[in-house]
Symmetry: C2
Subunit: 428 residues, 2 copies
């Protein structure tokens, strides 16, 4: 098949006419499919059924240090929960704070505290005229929305296969003291699936920053979310904490993780890790806002997942469910679009997303076409700050929620929409 | 017995010598007792044991609208959880947001949003040079600490038997636009146990405020926490929402409640209620900070407590455990201090505390004496803003946690410490 861009107008018009027929046929099916959000499927949720009733007797509610987890207190989390989450965060349990069900809330709060009270002895960011924040793009819309809501100026940074373009990051961080930090999803990134190279991590840790309180918000949401069981097929991430310490910038990073996509997204546990000084700061602020997290849910997780090996074993069960879905995305996109040209997409080894780059100017139209045919996608532009993709190109595909058969159908619709939008664009 | 203040120096010195012997005897026992924090006892926690395993199967995790509570979403809480918490909050479910395990966090966040973004279309409070906050005293230390941490100027307002001294509140609110709000624990208040009179509620709702965005933070933490089962022995509180609406100030109040002292303090659910406009504002901000609360825990509470009648029946079981403890406090204080003079204390019909007013200048010494004899009390001054009781008089007694026998022993020590400190003071 000739690539669309190489076709004559007549060829392309004929092709478009056929696509319109195909599209009309999809529409006639009155589909209701969803590839919008990175939600685990029911099958995945069922893996954690034992978690529900793992504590059923008061005697089971006592933590290893004798704390009755039903009562008030323990603002920074149970010792055994710190150990469990330290395994996810690749850190020392002493440097970990375990919280409630949302790592996003911990990120929001950590940022709010920098703004209201300052961090590392520096002035509160609310006293500054401008605070700028680096946003590797495409990235995670909820990250961007937090910093946008706080009134920061969001600066897009190109995302490469090795993480953010470090030449750009280094230049911005070195020369502008109002650049206070960066969002990072360093492993199996949302949405590109890339994992930061060791060099990227080391450059982030060691780069000169005009702001001495520059902070890396290291949302390691997919740290153990491999699609393959063999170590050789898994990505490896250098620990930002170690890299920062080695570089003489031990206060530079805040790490976050949660079990949202390990156990149950509505009822997981979240954690924060940082240097001892930053943890002390975090705990001081946290102690004002709460008497303590839900320790019973922390204990449930410890009893269910146990340790690093327990986590890995559990994640292999997720991988077995997710592998065919990601394989199907790759197959459908490859079969449907290889010969069309103009498109690119990721084929990640972990995480929750496939990042799709449509021909420039087509993303909004594709998502709209899909919507009208009953397939909900993440909004075009969502992967960029302020929801504005300058190329109108990137679309995030979330293949985890639908059953395999529905996913295949949704992808067929999607491929048809991509081709139709591209043909429309070329024909002007 | 002659009251201490009426004794001759000789009589008092002899009395003090005996008290010192009694105190030394208590010390020799090497006690380790705690009347510091308002925690439910183990016996109370056990009332909620069915809650632990009430959801054990995936099919039980589905909310009435079909939502799988194990997955992401539903930022403002389940419909059935709103109904349950509306019963506690004396409000319409539509005006309720159900959150995580901490109403304190919801109060903190609501305040933070007023500061960062403003409320009711008014300017953000962070743009103001000074924000003042009214603090009925004695009051709740964690409330005061939130507003103190935000850098507000805390203004103590005398607490009467009918709630805050409304002459003072009205004068401050009417004449100073930097007075932005007030902390209220309107029923079985922490620590005095008073319940606001209908007149107090109506005056709060209707008083002229120089600040159009004046907000009443209505922490109805003990709304259903009666000590007695008969309606005639229970306090009744006028609803602040109705009163504000009637007064033409429908935006003035934010209500809060939680099940922390209904089910399990570490693993309860919290809720917020306000006008539709304020709820819309709250939800908008909340949607930035989280993907949603722990809906499984909400569902557990609905299945366990069911409705208003279920709540009331459950609270009667708490009351049966707590009644003898509060009776013992009243008896021990009355027997031990009636004839000493100079002291006053509350005898509440609900809630978690007895408020004790020692002779001026004695509270710090009493708490220190008790501590040295192995009885931990809430720190003197804790019931005042900045931890500074100008009279050094108020002590909060929390009788709920210790078993009855330990409580009796702790009160014996306390009474001895009160008398000794008072005698020391009078002897100069």
């Amino acid at each position: 098949m000739t690539q669309f861009a190489a076709m004559s107008r007549e060829e392309l018009a004929a092709c478009k006419a056929q696509l319109e027929k195909d599209y009309a046929a999809f529409k006639a099916k009155n589909l209701s499919l969803n590839m919008a959000r990175g939600k685990p499927s029911t099958e995945q949720l069922n893996l954690s059924t034992p978690l529900l009733s793992i504590l059923s007797d008061p005697a089971e509610c006592i933590a290893e240090d004798g704390t009755d987890c039903r009562n008030y207190g323990v603002v920074d989390g149970l010792p055994e929960a710190k150990r469990l989450m330290a395994a996810m965060l690749d850190d020392d349990p002493d440097n970990v704070v375990v919280g409630g069900n949302s790592s996003l809330t911990m990120m929001h709060d950590a940022l709010a505290w920098c703004i209201d009270y300052g961090t590392g002895g520096c002035e509160p960011w609310l006293t500054l005229d401008t605070v700028k924040w680096l946003c590797p793009c495409p990235g995670y819309d909820r990250h961007f929305r937090i910093t946008e809501t706080f009134g920061m100026e969001l600066i897009p940074v190109p995302q490469t296969e090795d993480g953010p373009d470090m030449d750009v990051v280094e230049r911005l961080a070195a020369n502008d003291a109002s650049v206070k930090g960066i969002w990072c999803v360093p492993k199996y990134a949302n949405p590109t699936g890339c994992t930061y190279s060791d060099e990227t991590v080391r450059r982030l840790a060691s780069m000169p920053c005009a702001a001495s309180d520059f902070r890396i918000f290291w949302d390691n949401a997919y740290s153990i979310h491999h699609l393959f069981d063999e170590a050789s097929q898994q990505d490896h991430l250098l620990d930002i904490g170690v890299a920062c310490k080695e570089a003489g910038n031990p206060q530079r990073y805040f790490k976050f993780a949660s079990t949202s996509k390990v156990t149950l997204p509505g009822a997981g546990i979240a954690a924060f890790a940082a240097s001892p000084a930053n943890v002390a700061e975090f705990k001081k602020h946290l102690g004002v806002t709460t008497v303590g997290p839900d320790k019973l849910n922390q204990l449930r997780h410890v009893r269910f997942l146990k340790d690093a090996e327990g986590l890995a074993a559990h994640m292999r069960k997720h991988a077995a469910i997710l592998r065919p879905k990601f394989a199907l995305v790759e197959q459908k996109l490859s079969d449907g679009l290889r010969d069309v040209g103009g498109c690119a997409w990721s084929n990640p080894r972990g995480g929750y997303f496939v990042s799709f780059d449509a021909p420039n100017g087509c993303a909004t139209r594709i998502v709209e076409l899909a919507r009208q045919a009953g397939v909900v996608m993440t909004g075009a532009g969502a992967t960029w700050p302020y929801g504005r993709d300058p190329h109108d190109s990137n679309i995030r595909i979330a293949p985890t929620l639908p059953p395999l058969e529905e996913l295949g159908e949704a992808l067929d619709v999607f491929v048809c929409c991509v081709k139709l939008a591209y043909a429309e664009k070329l024909l002007g």
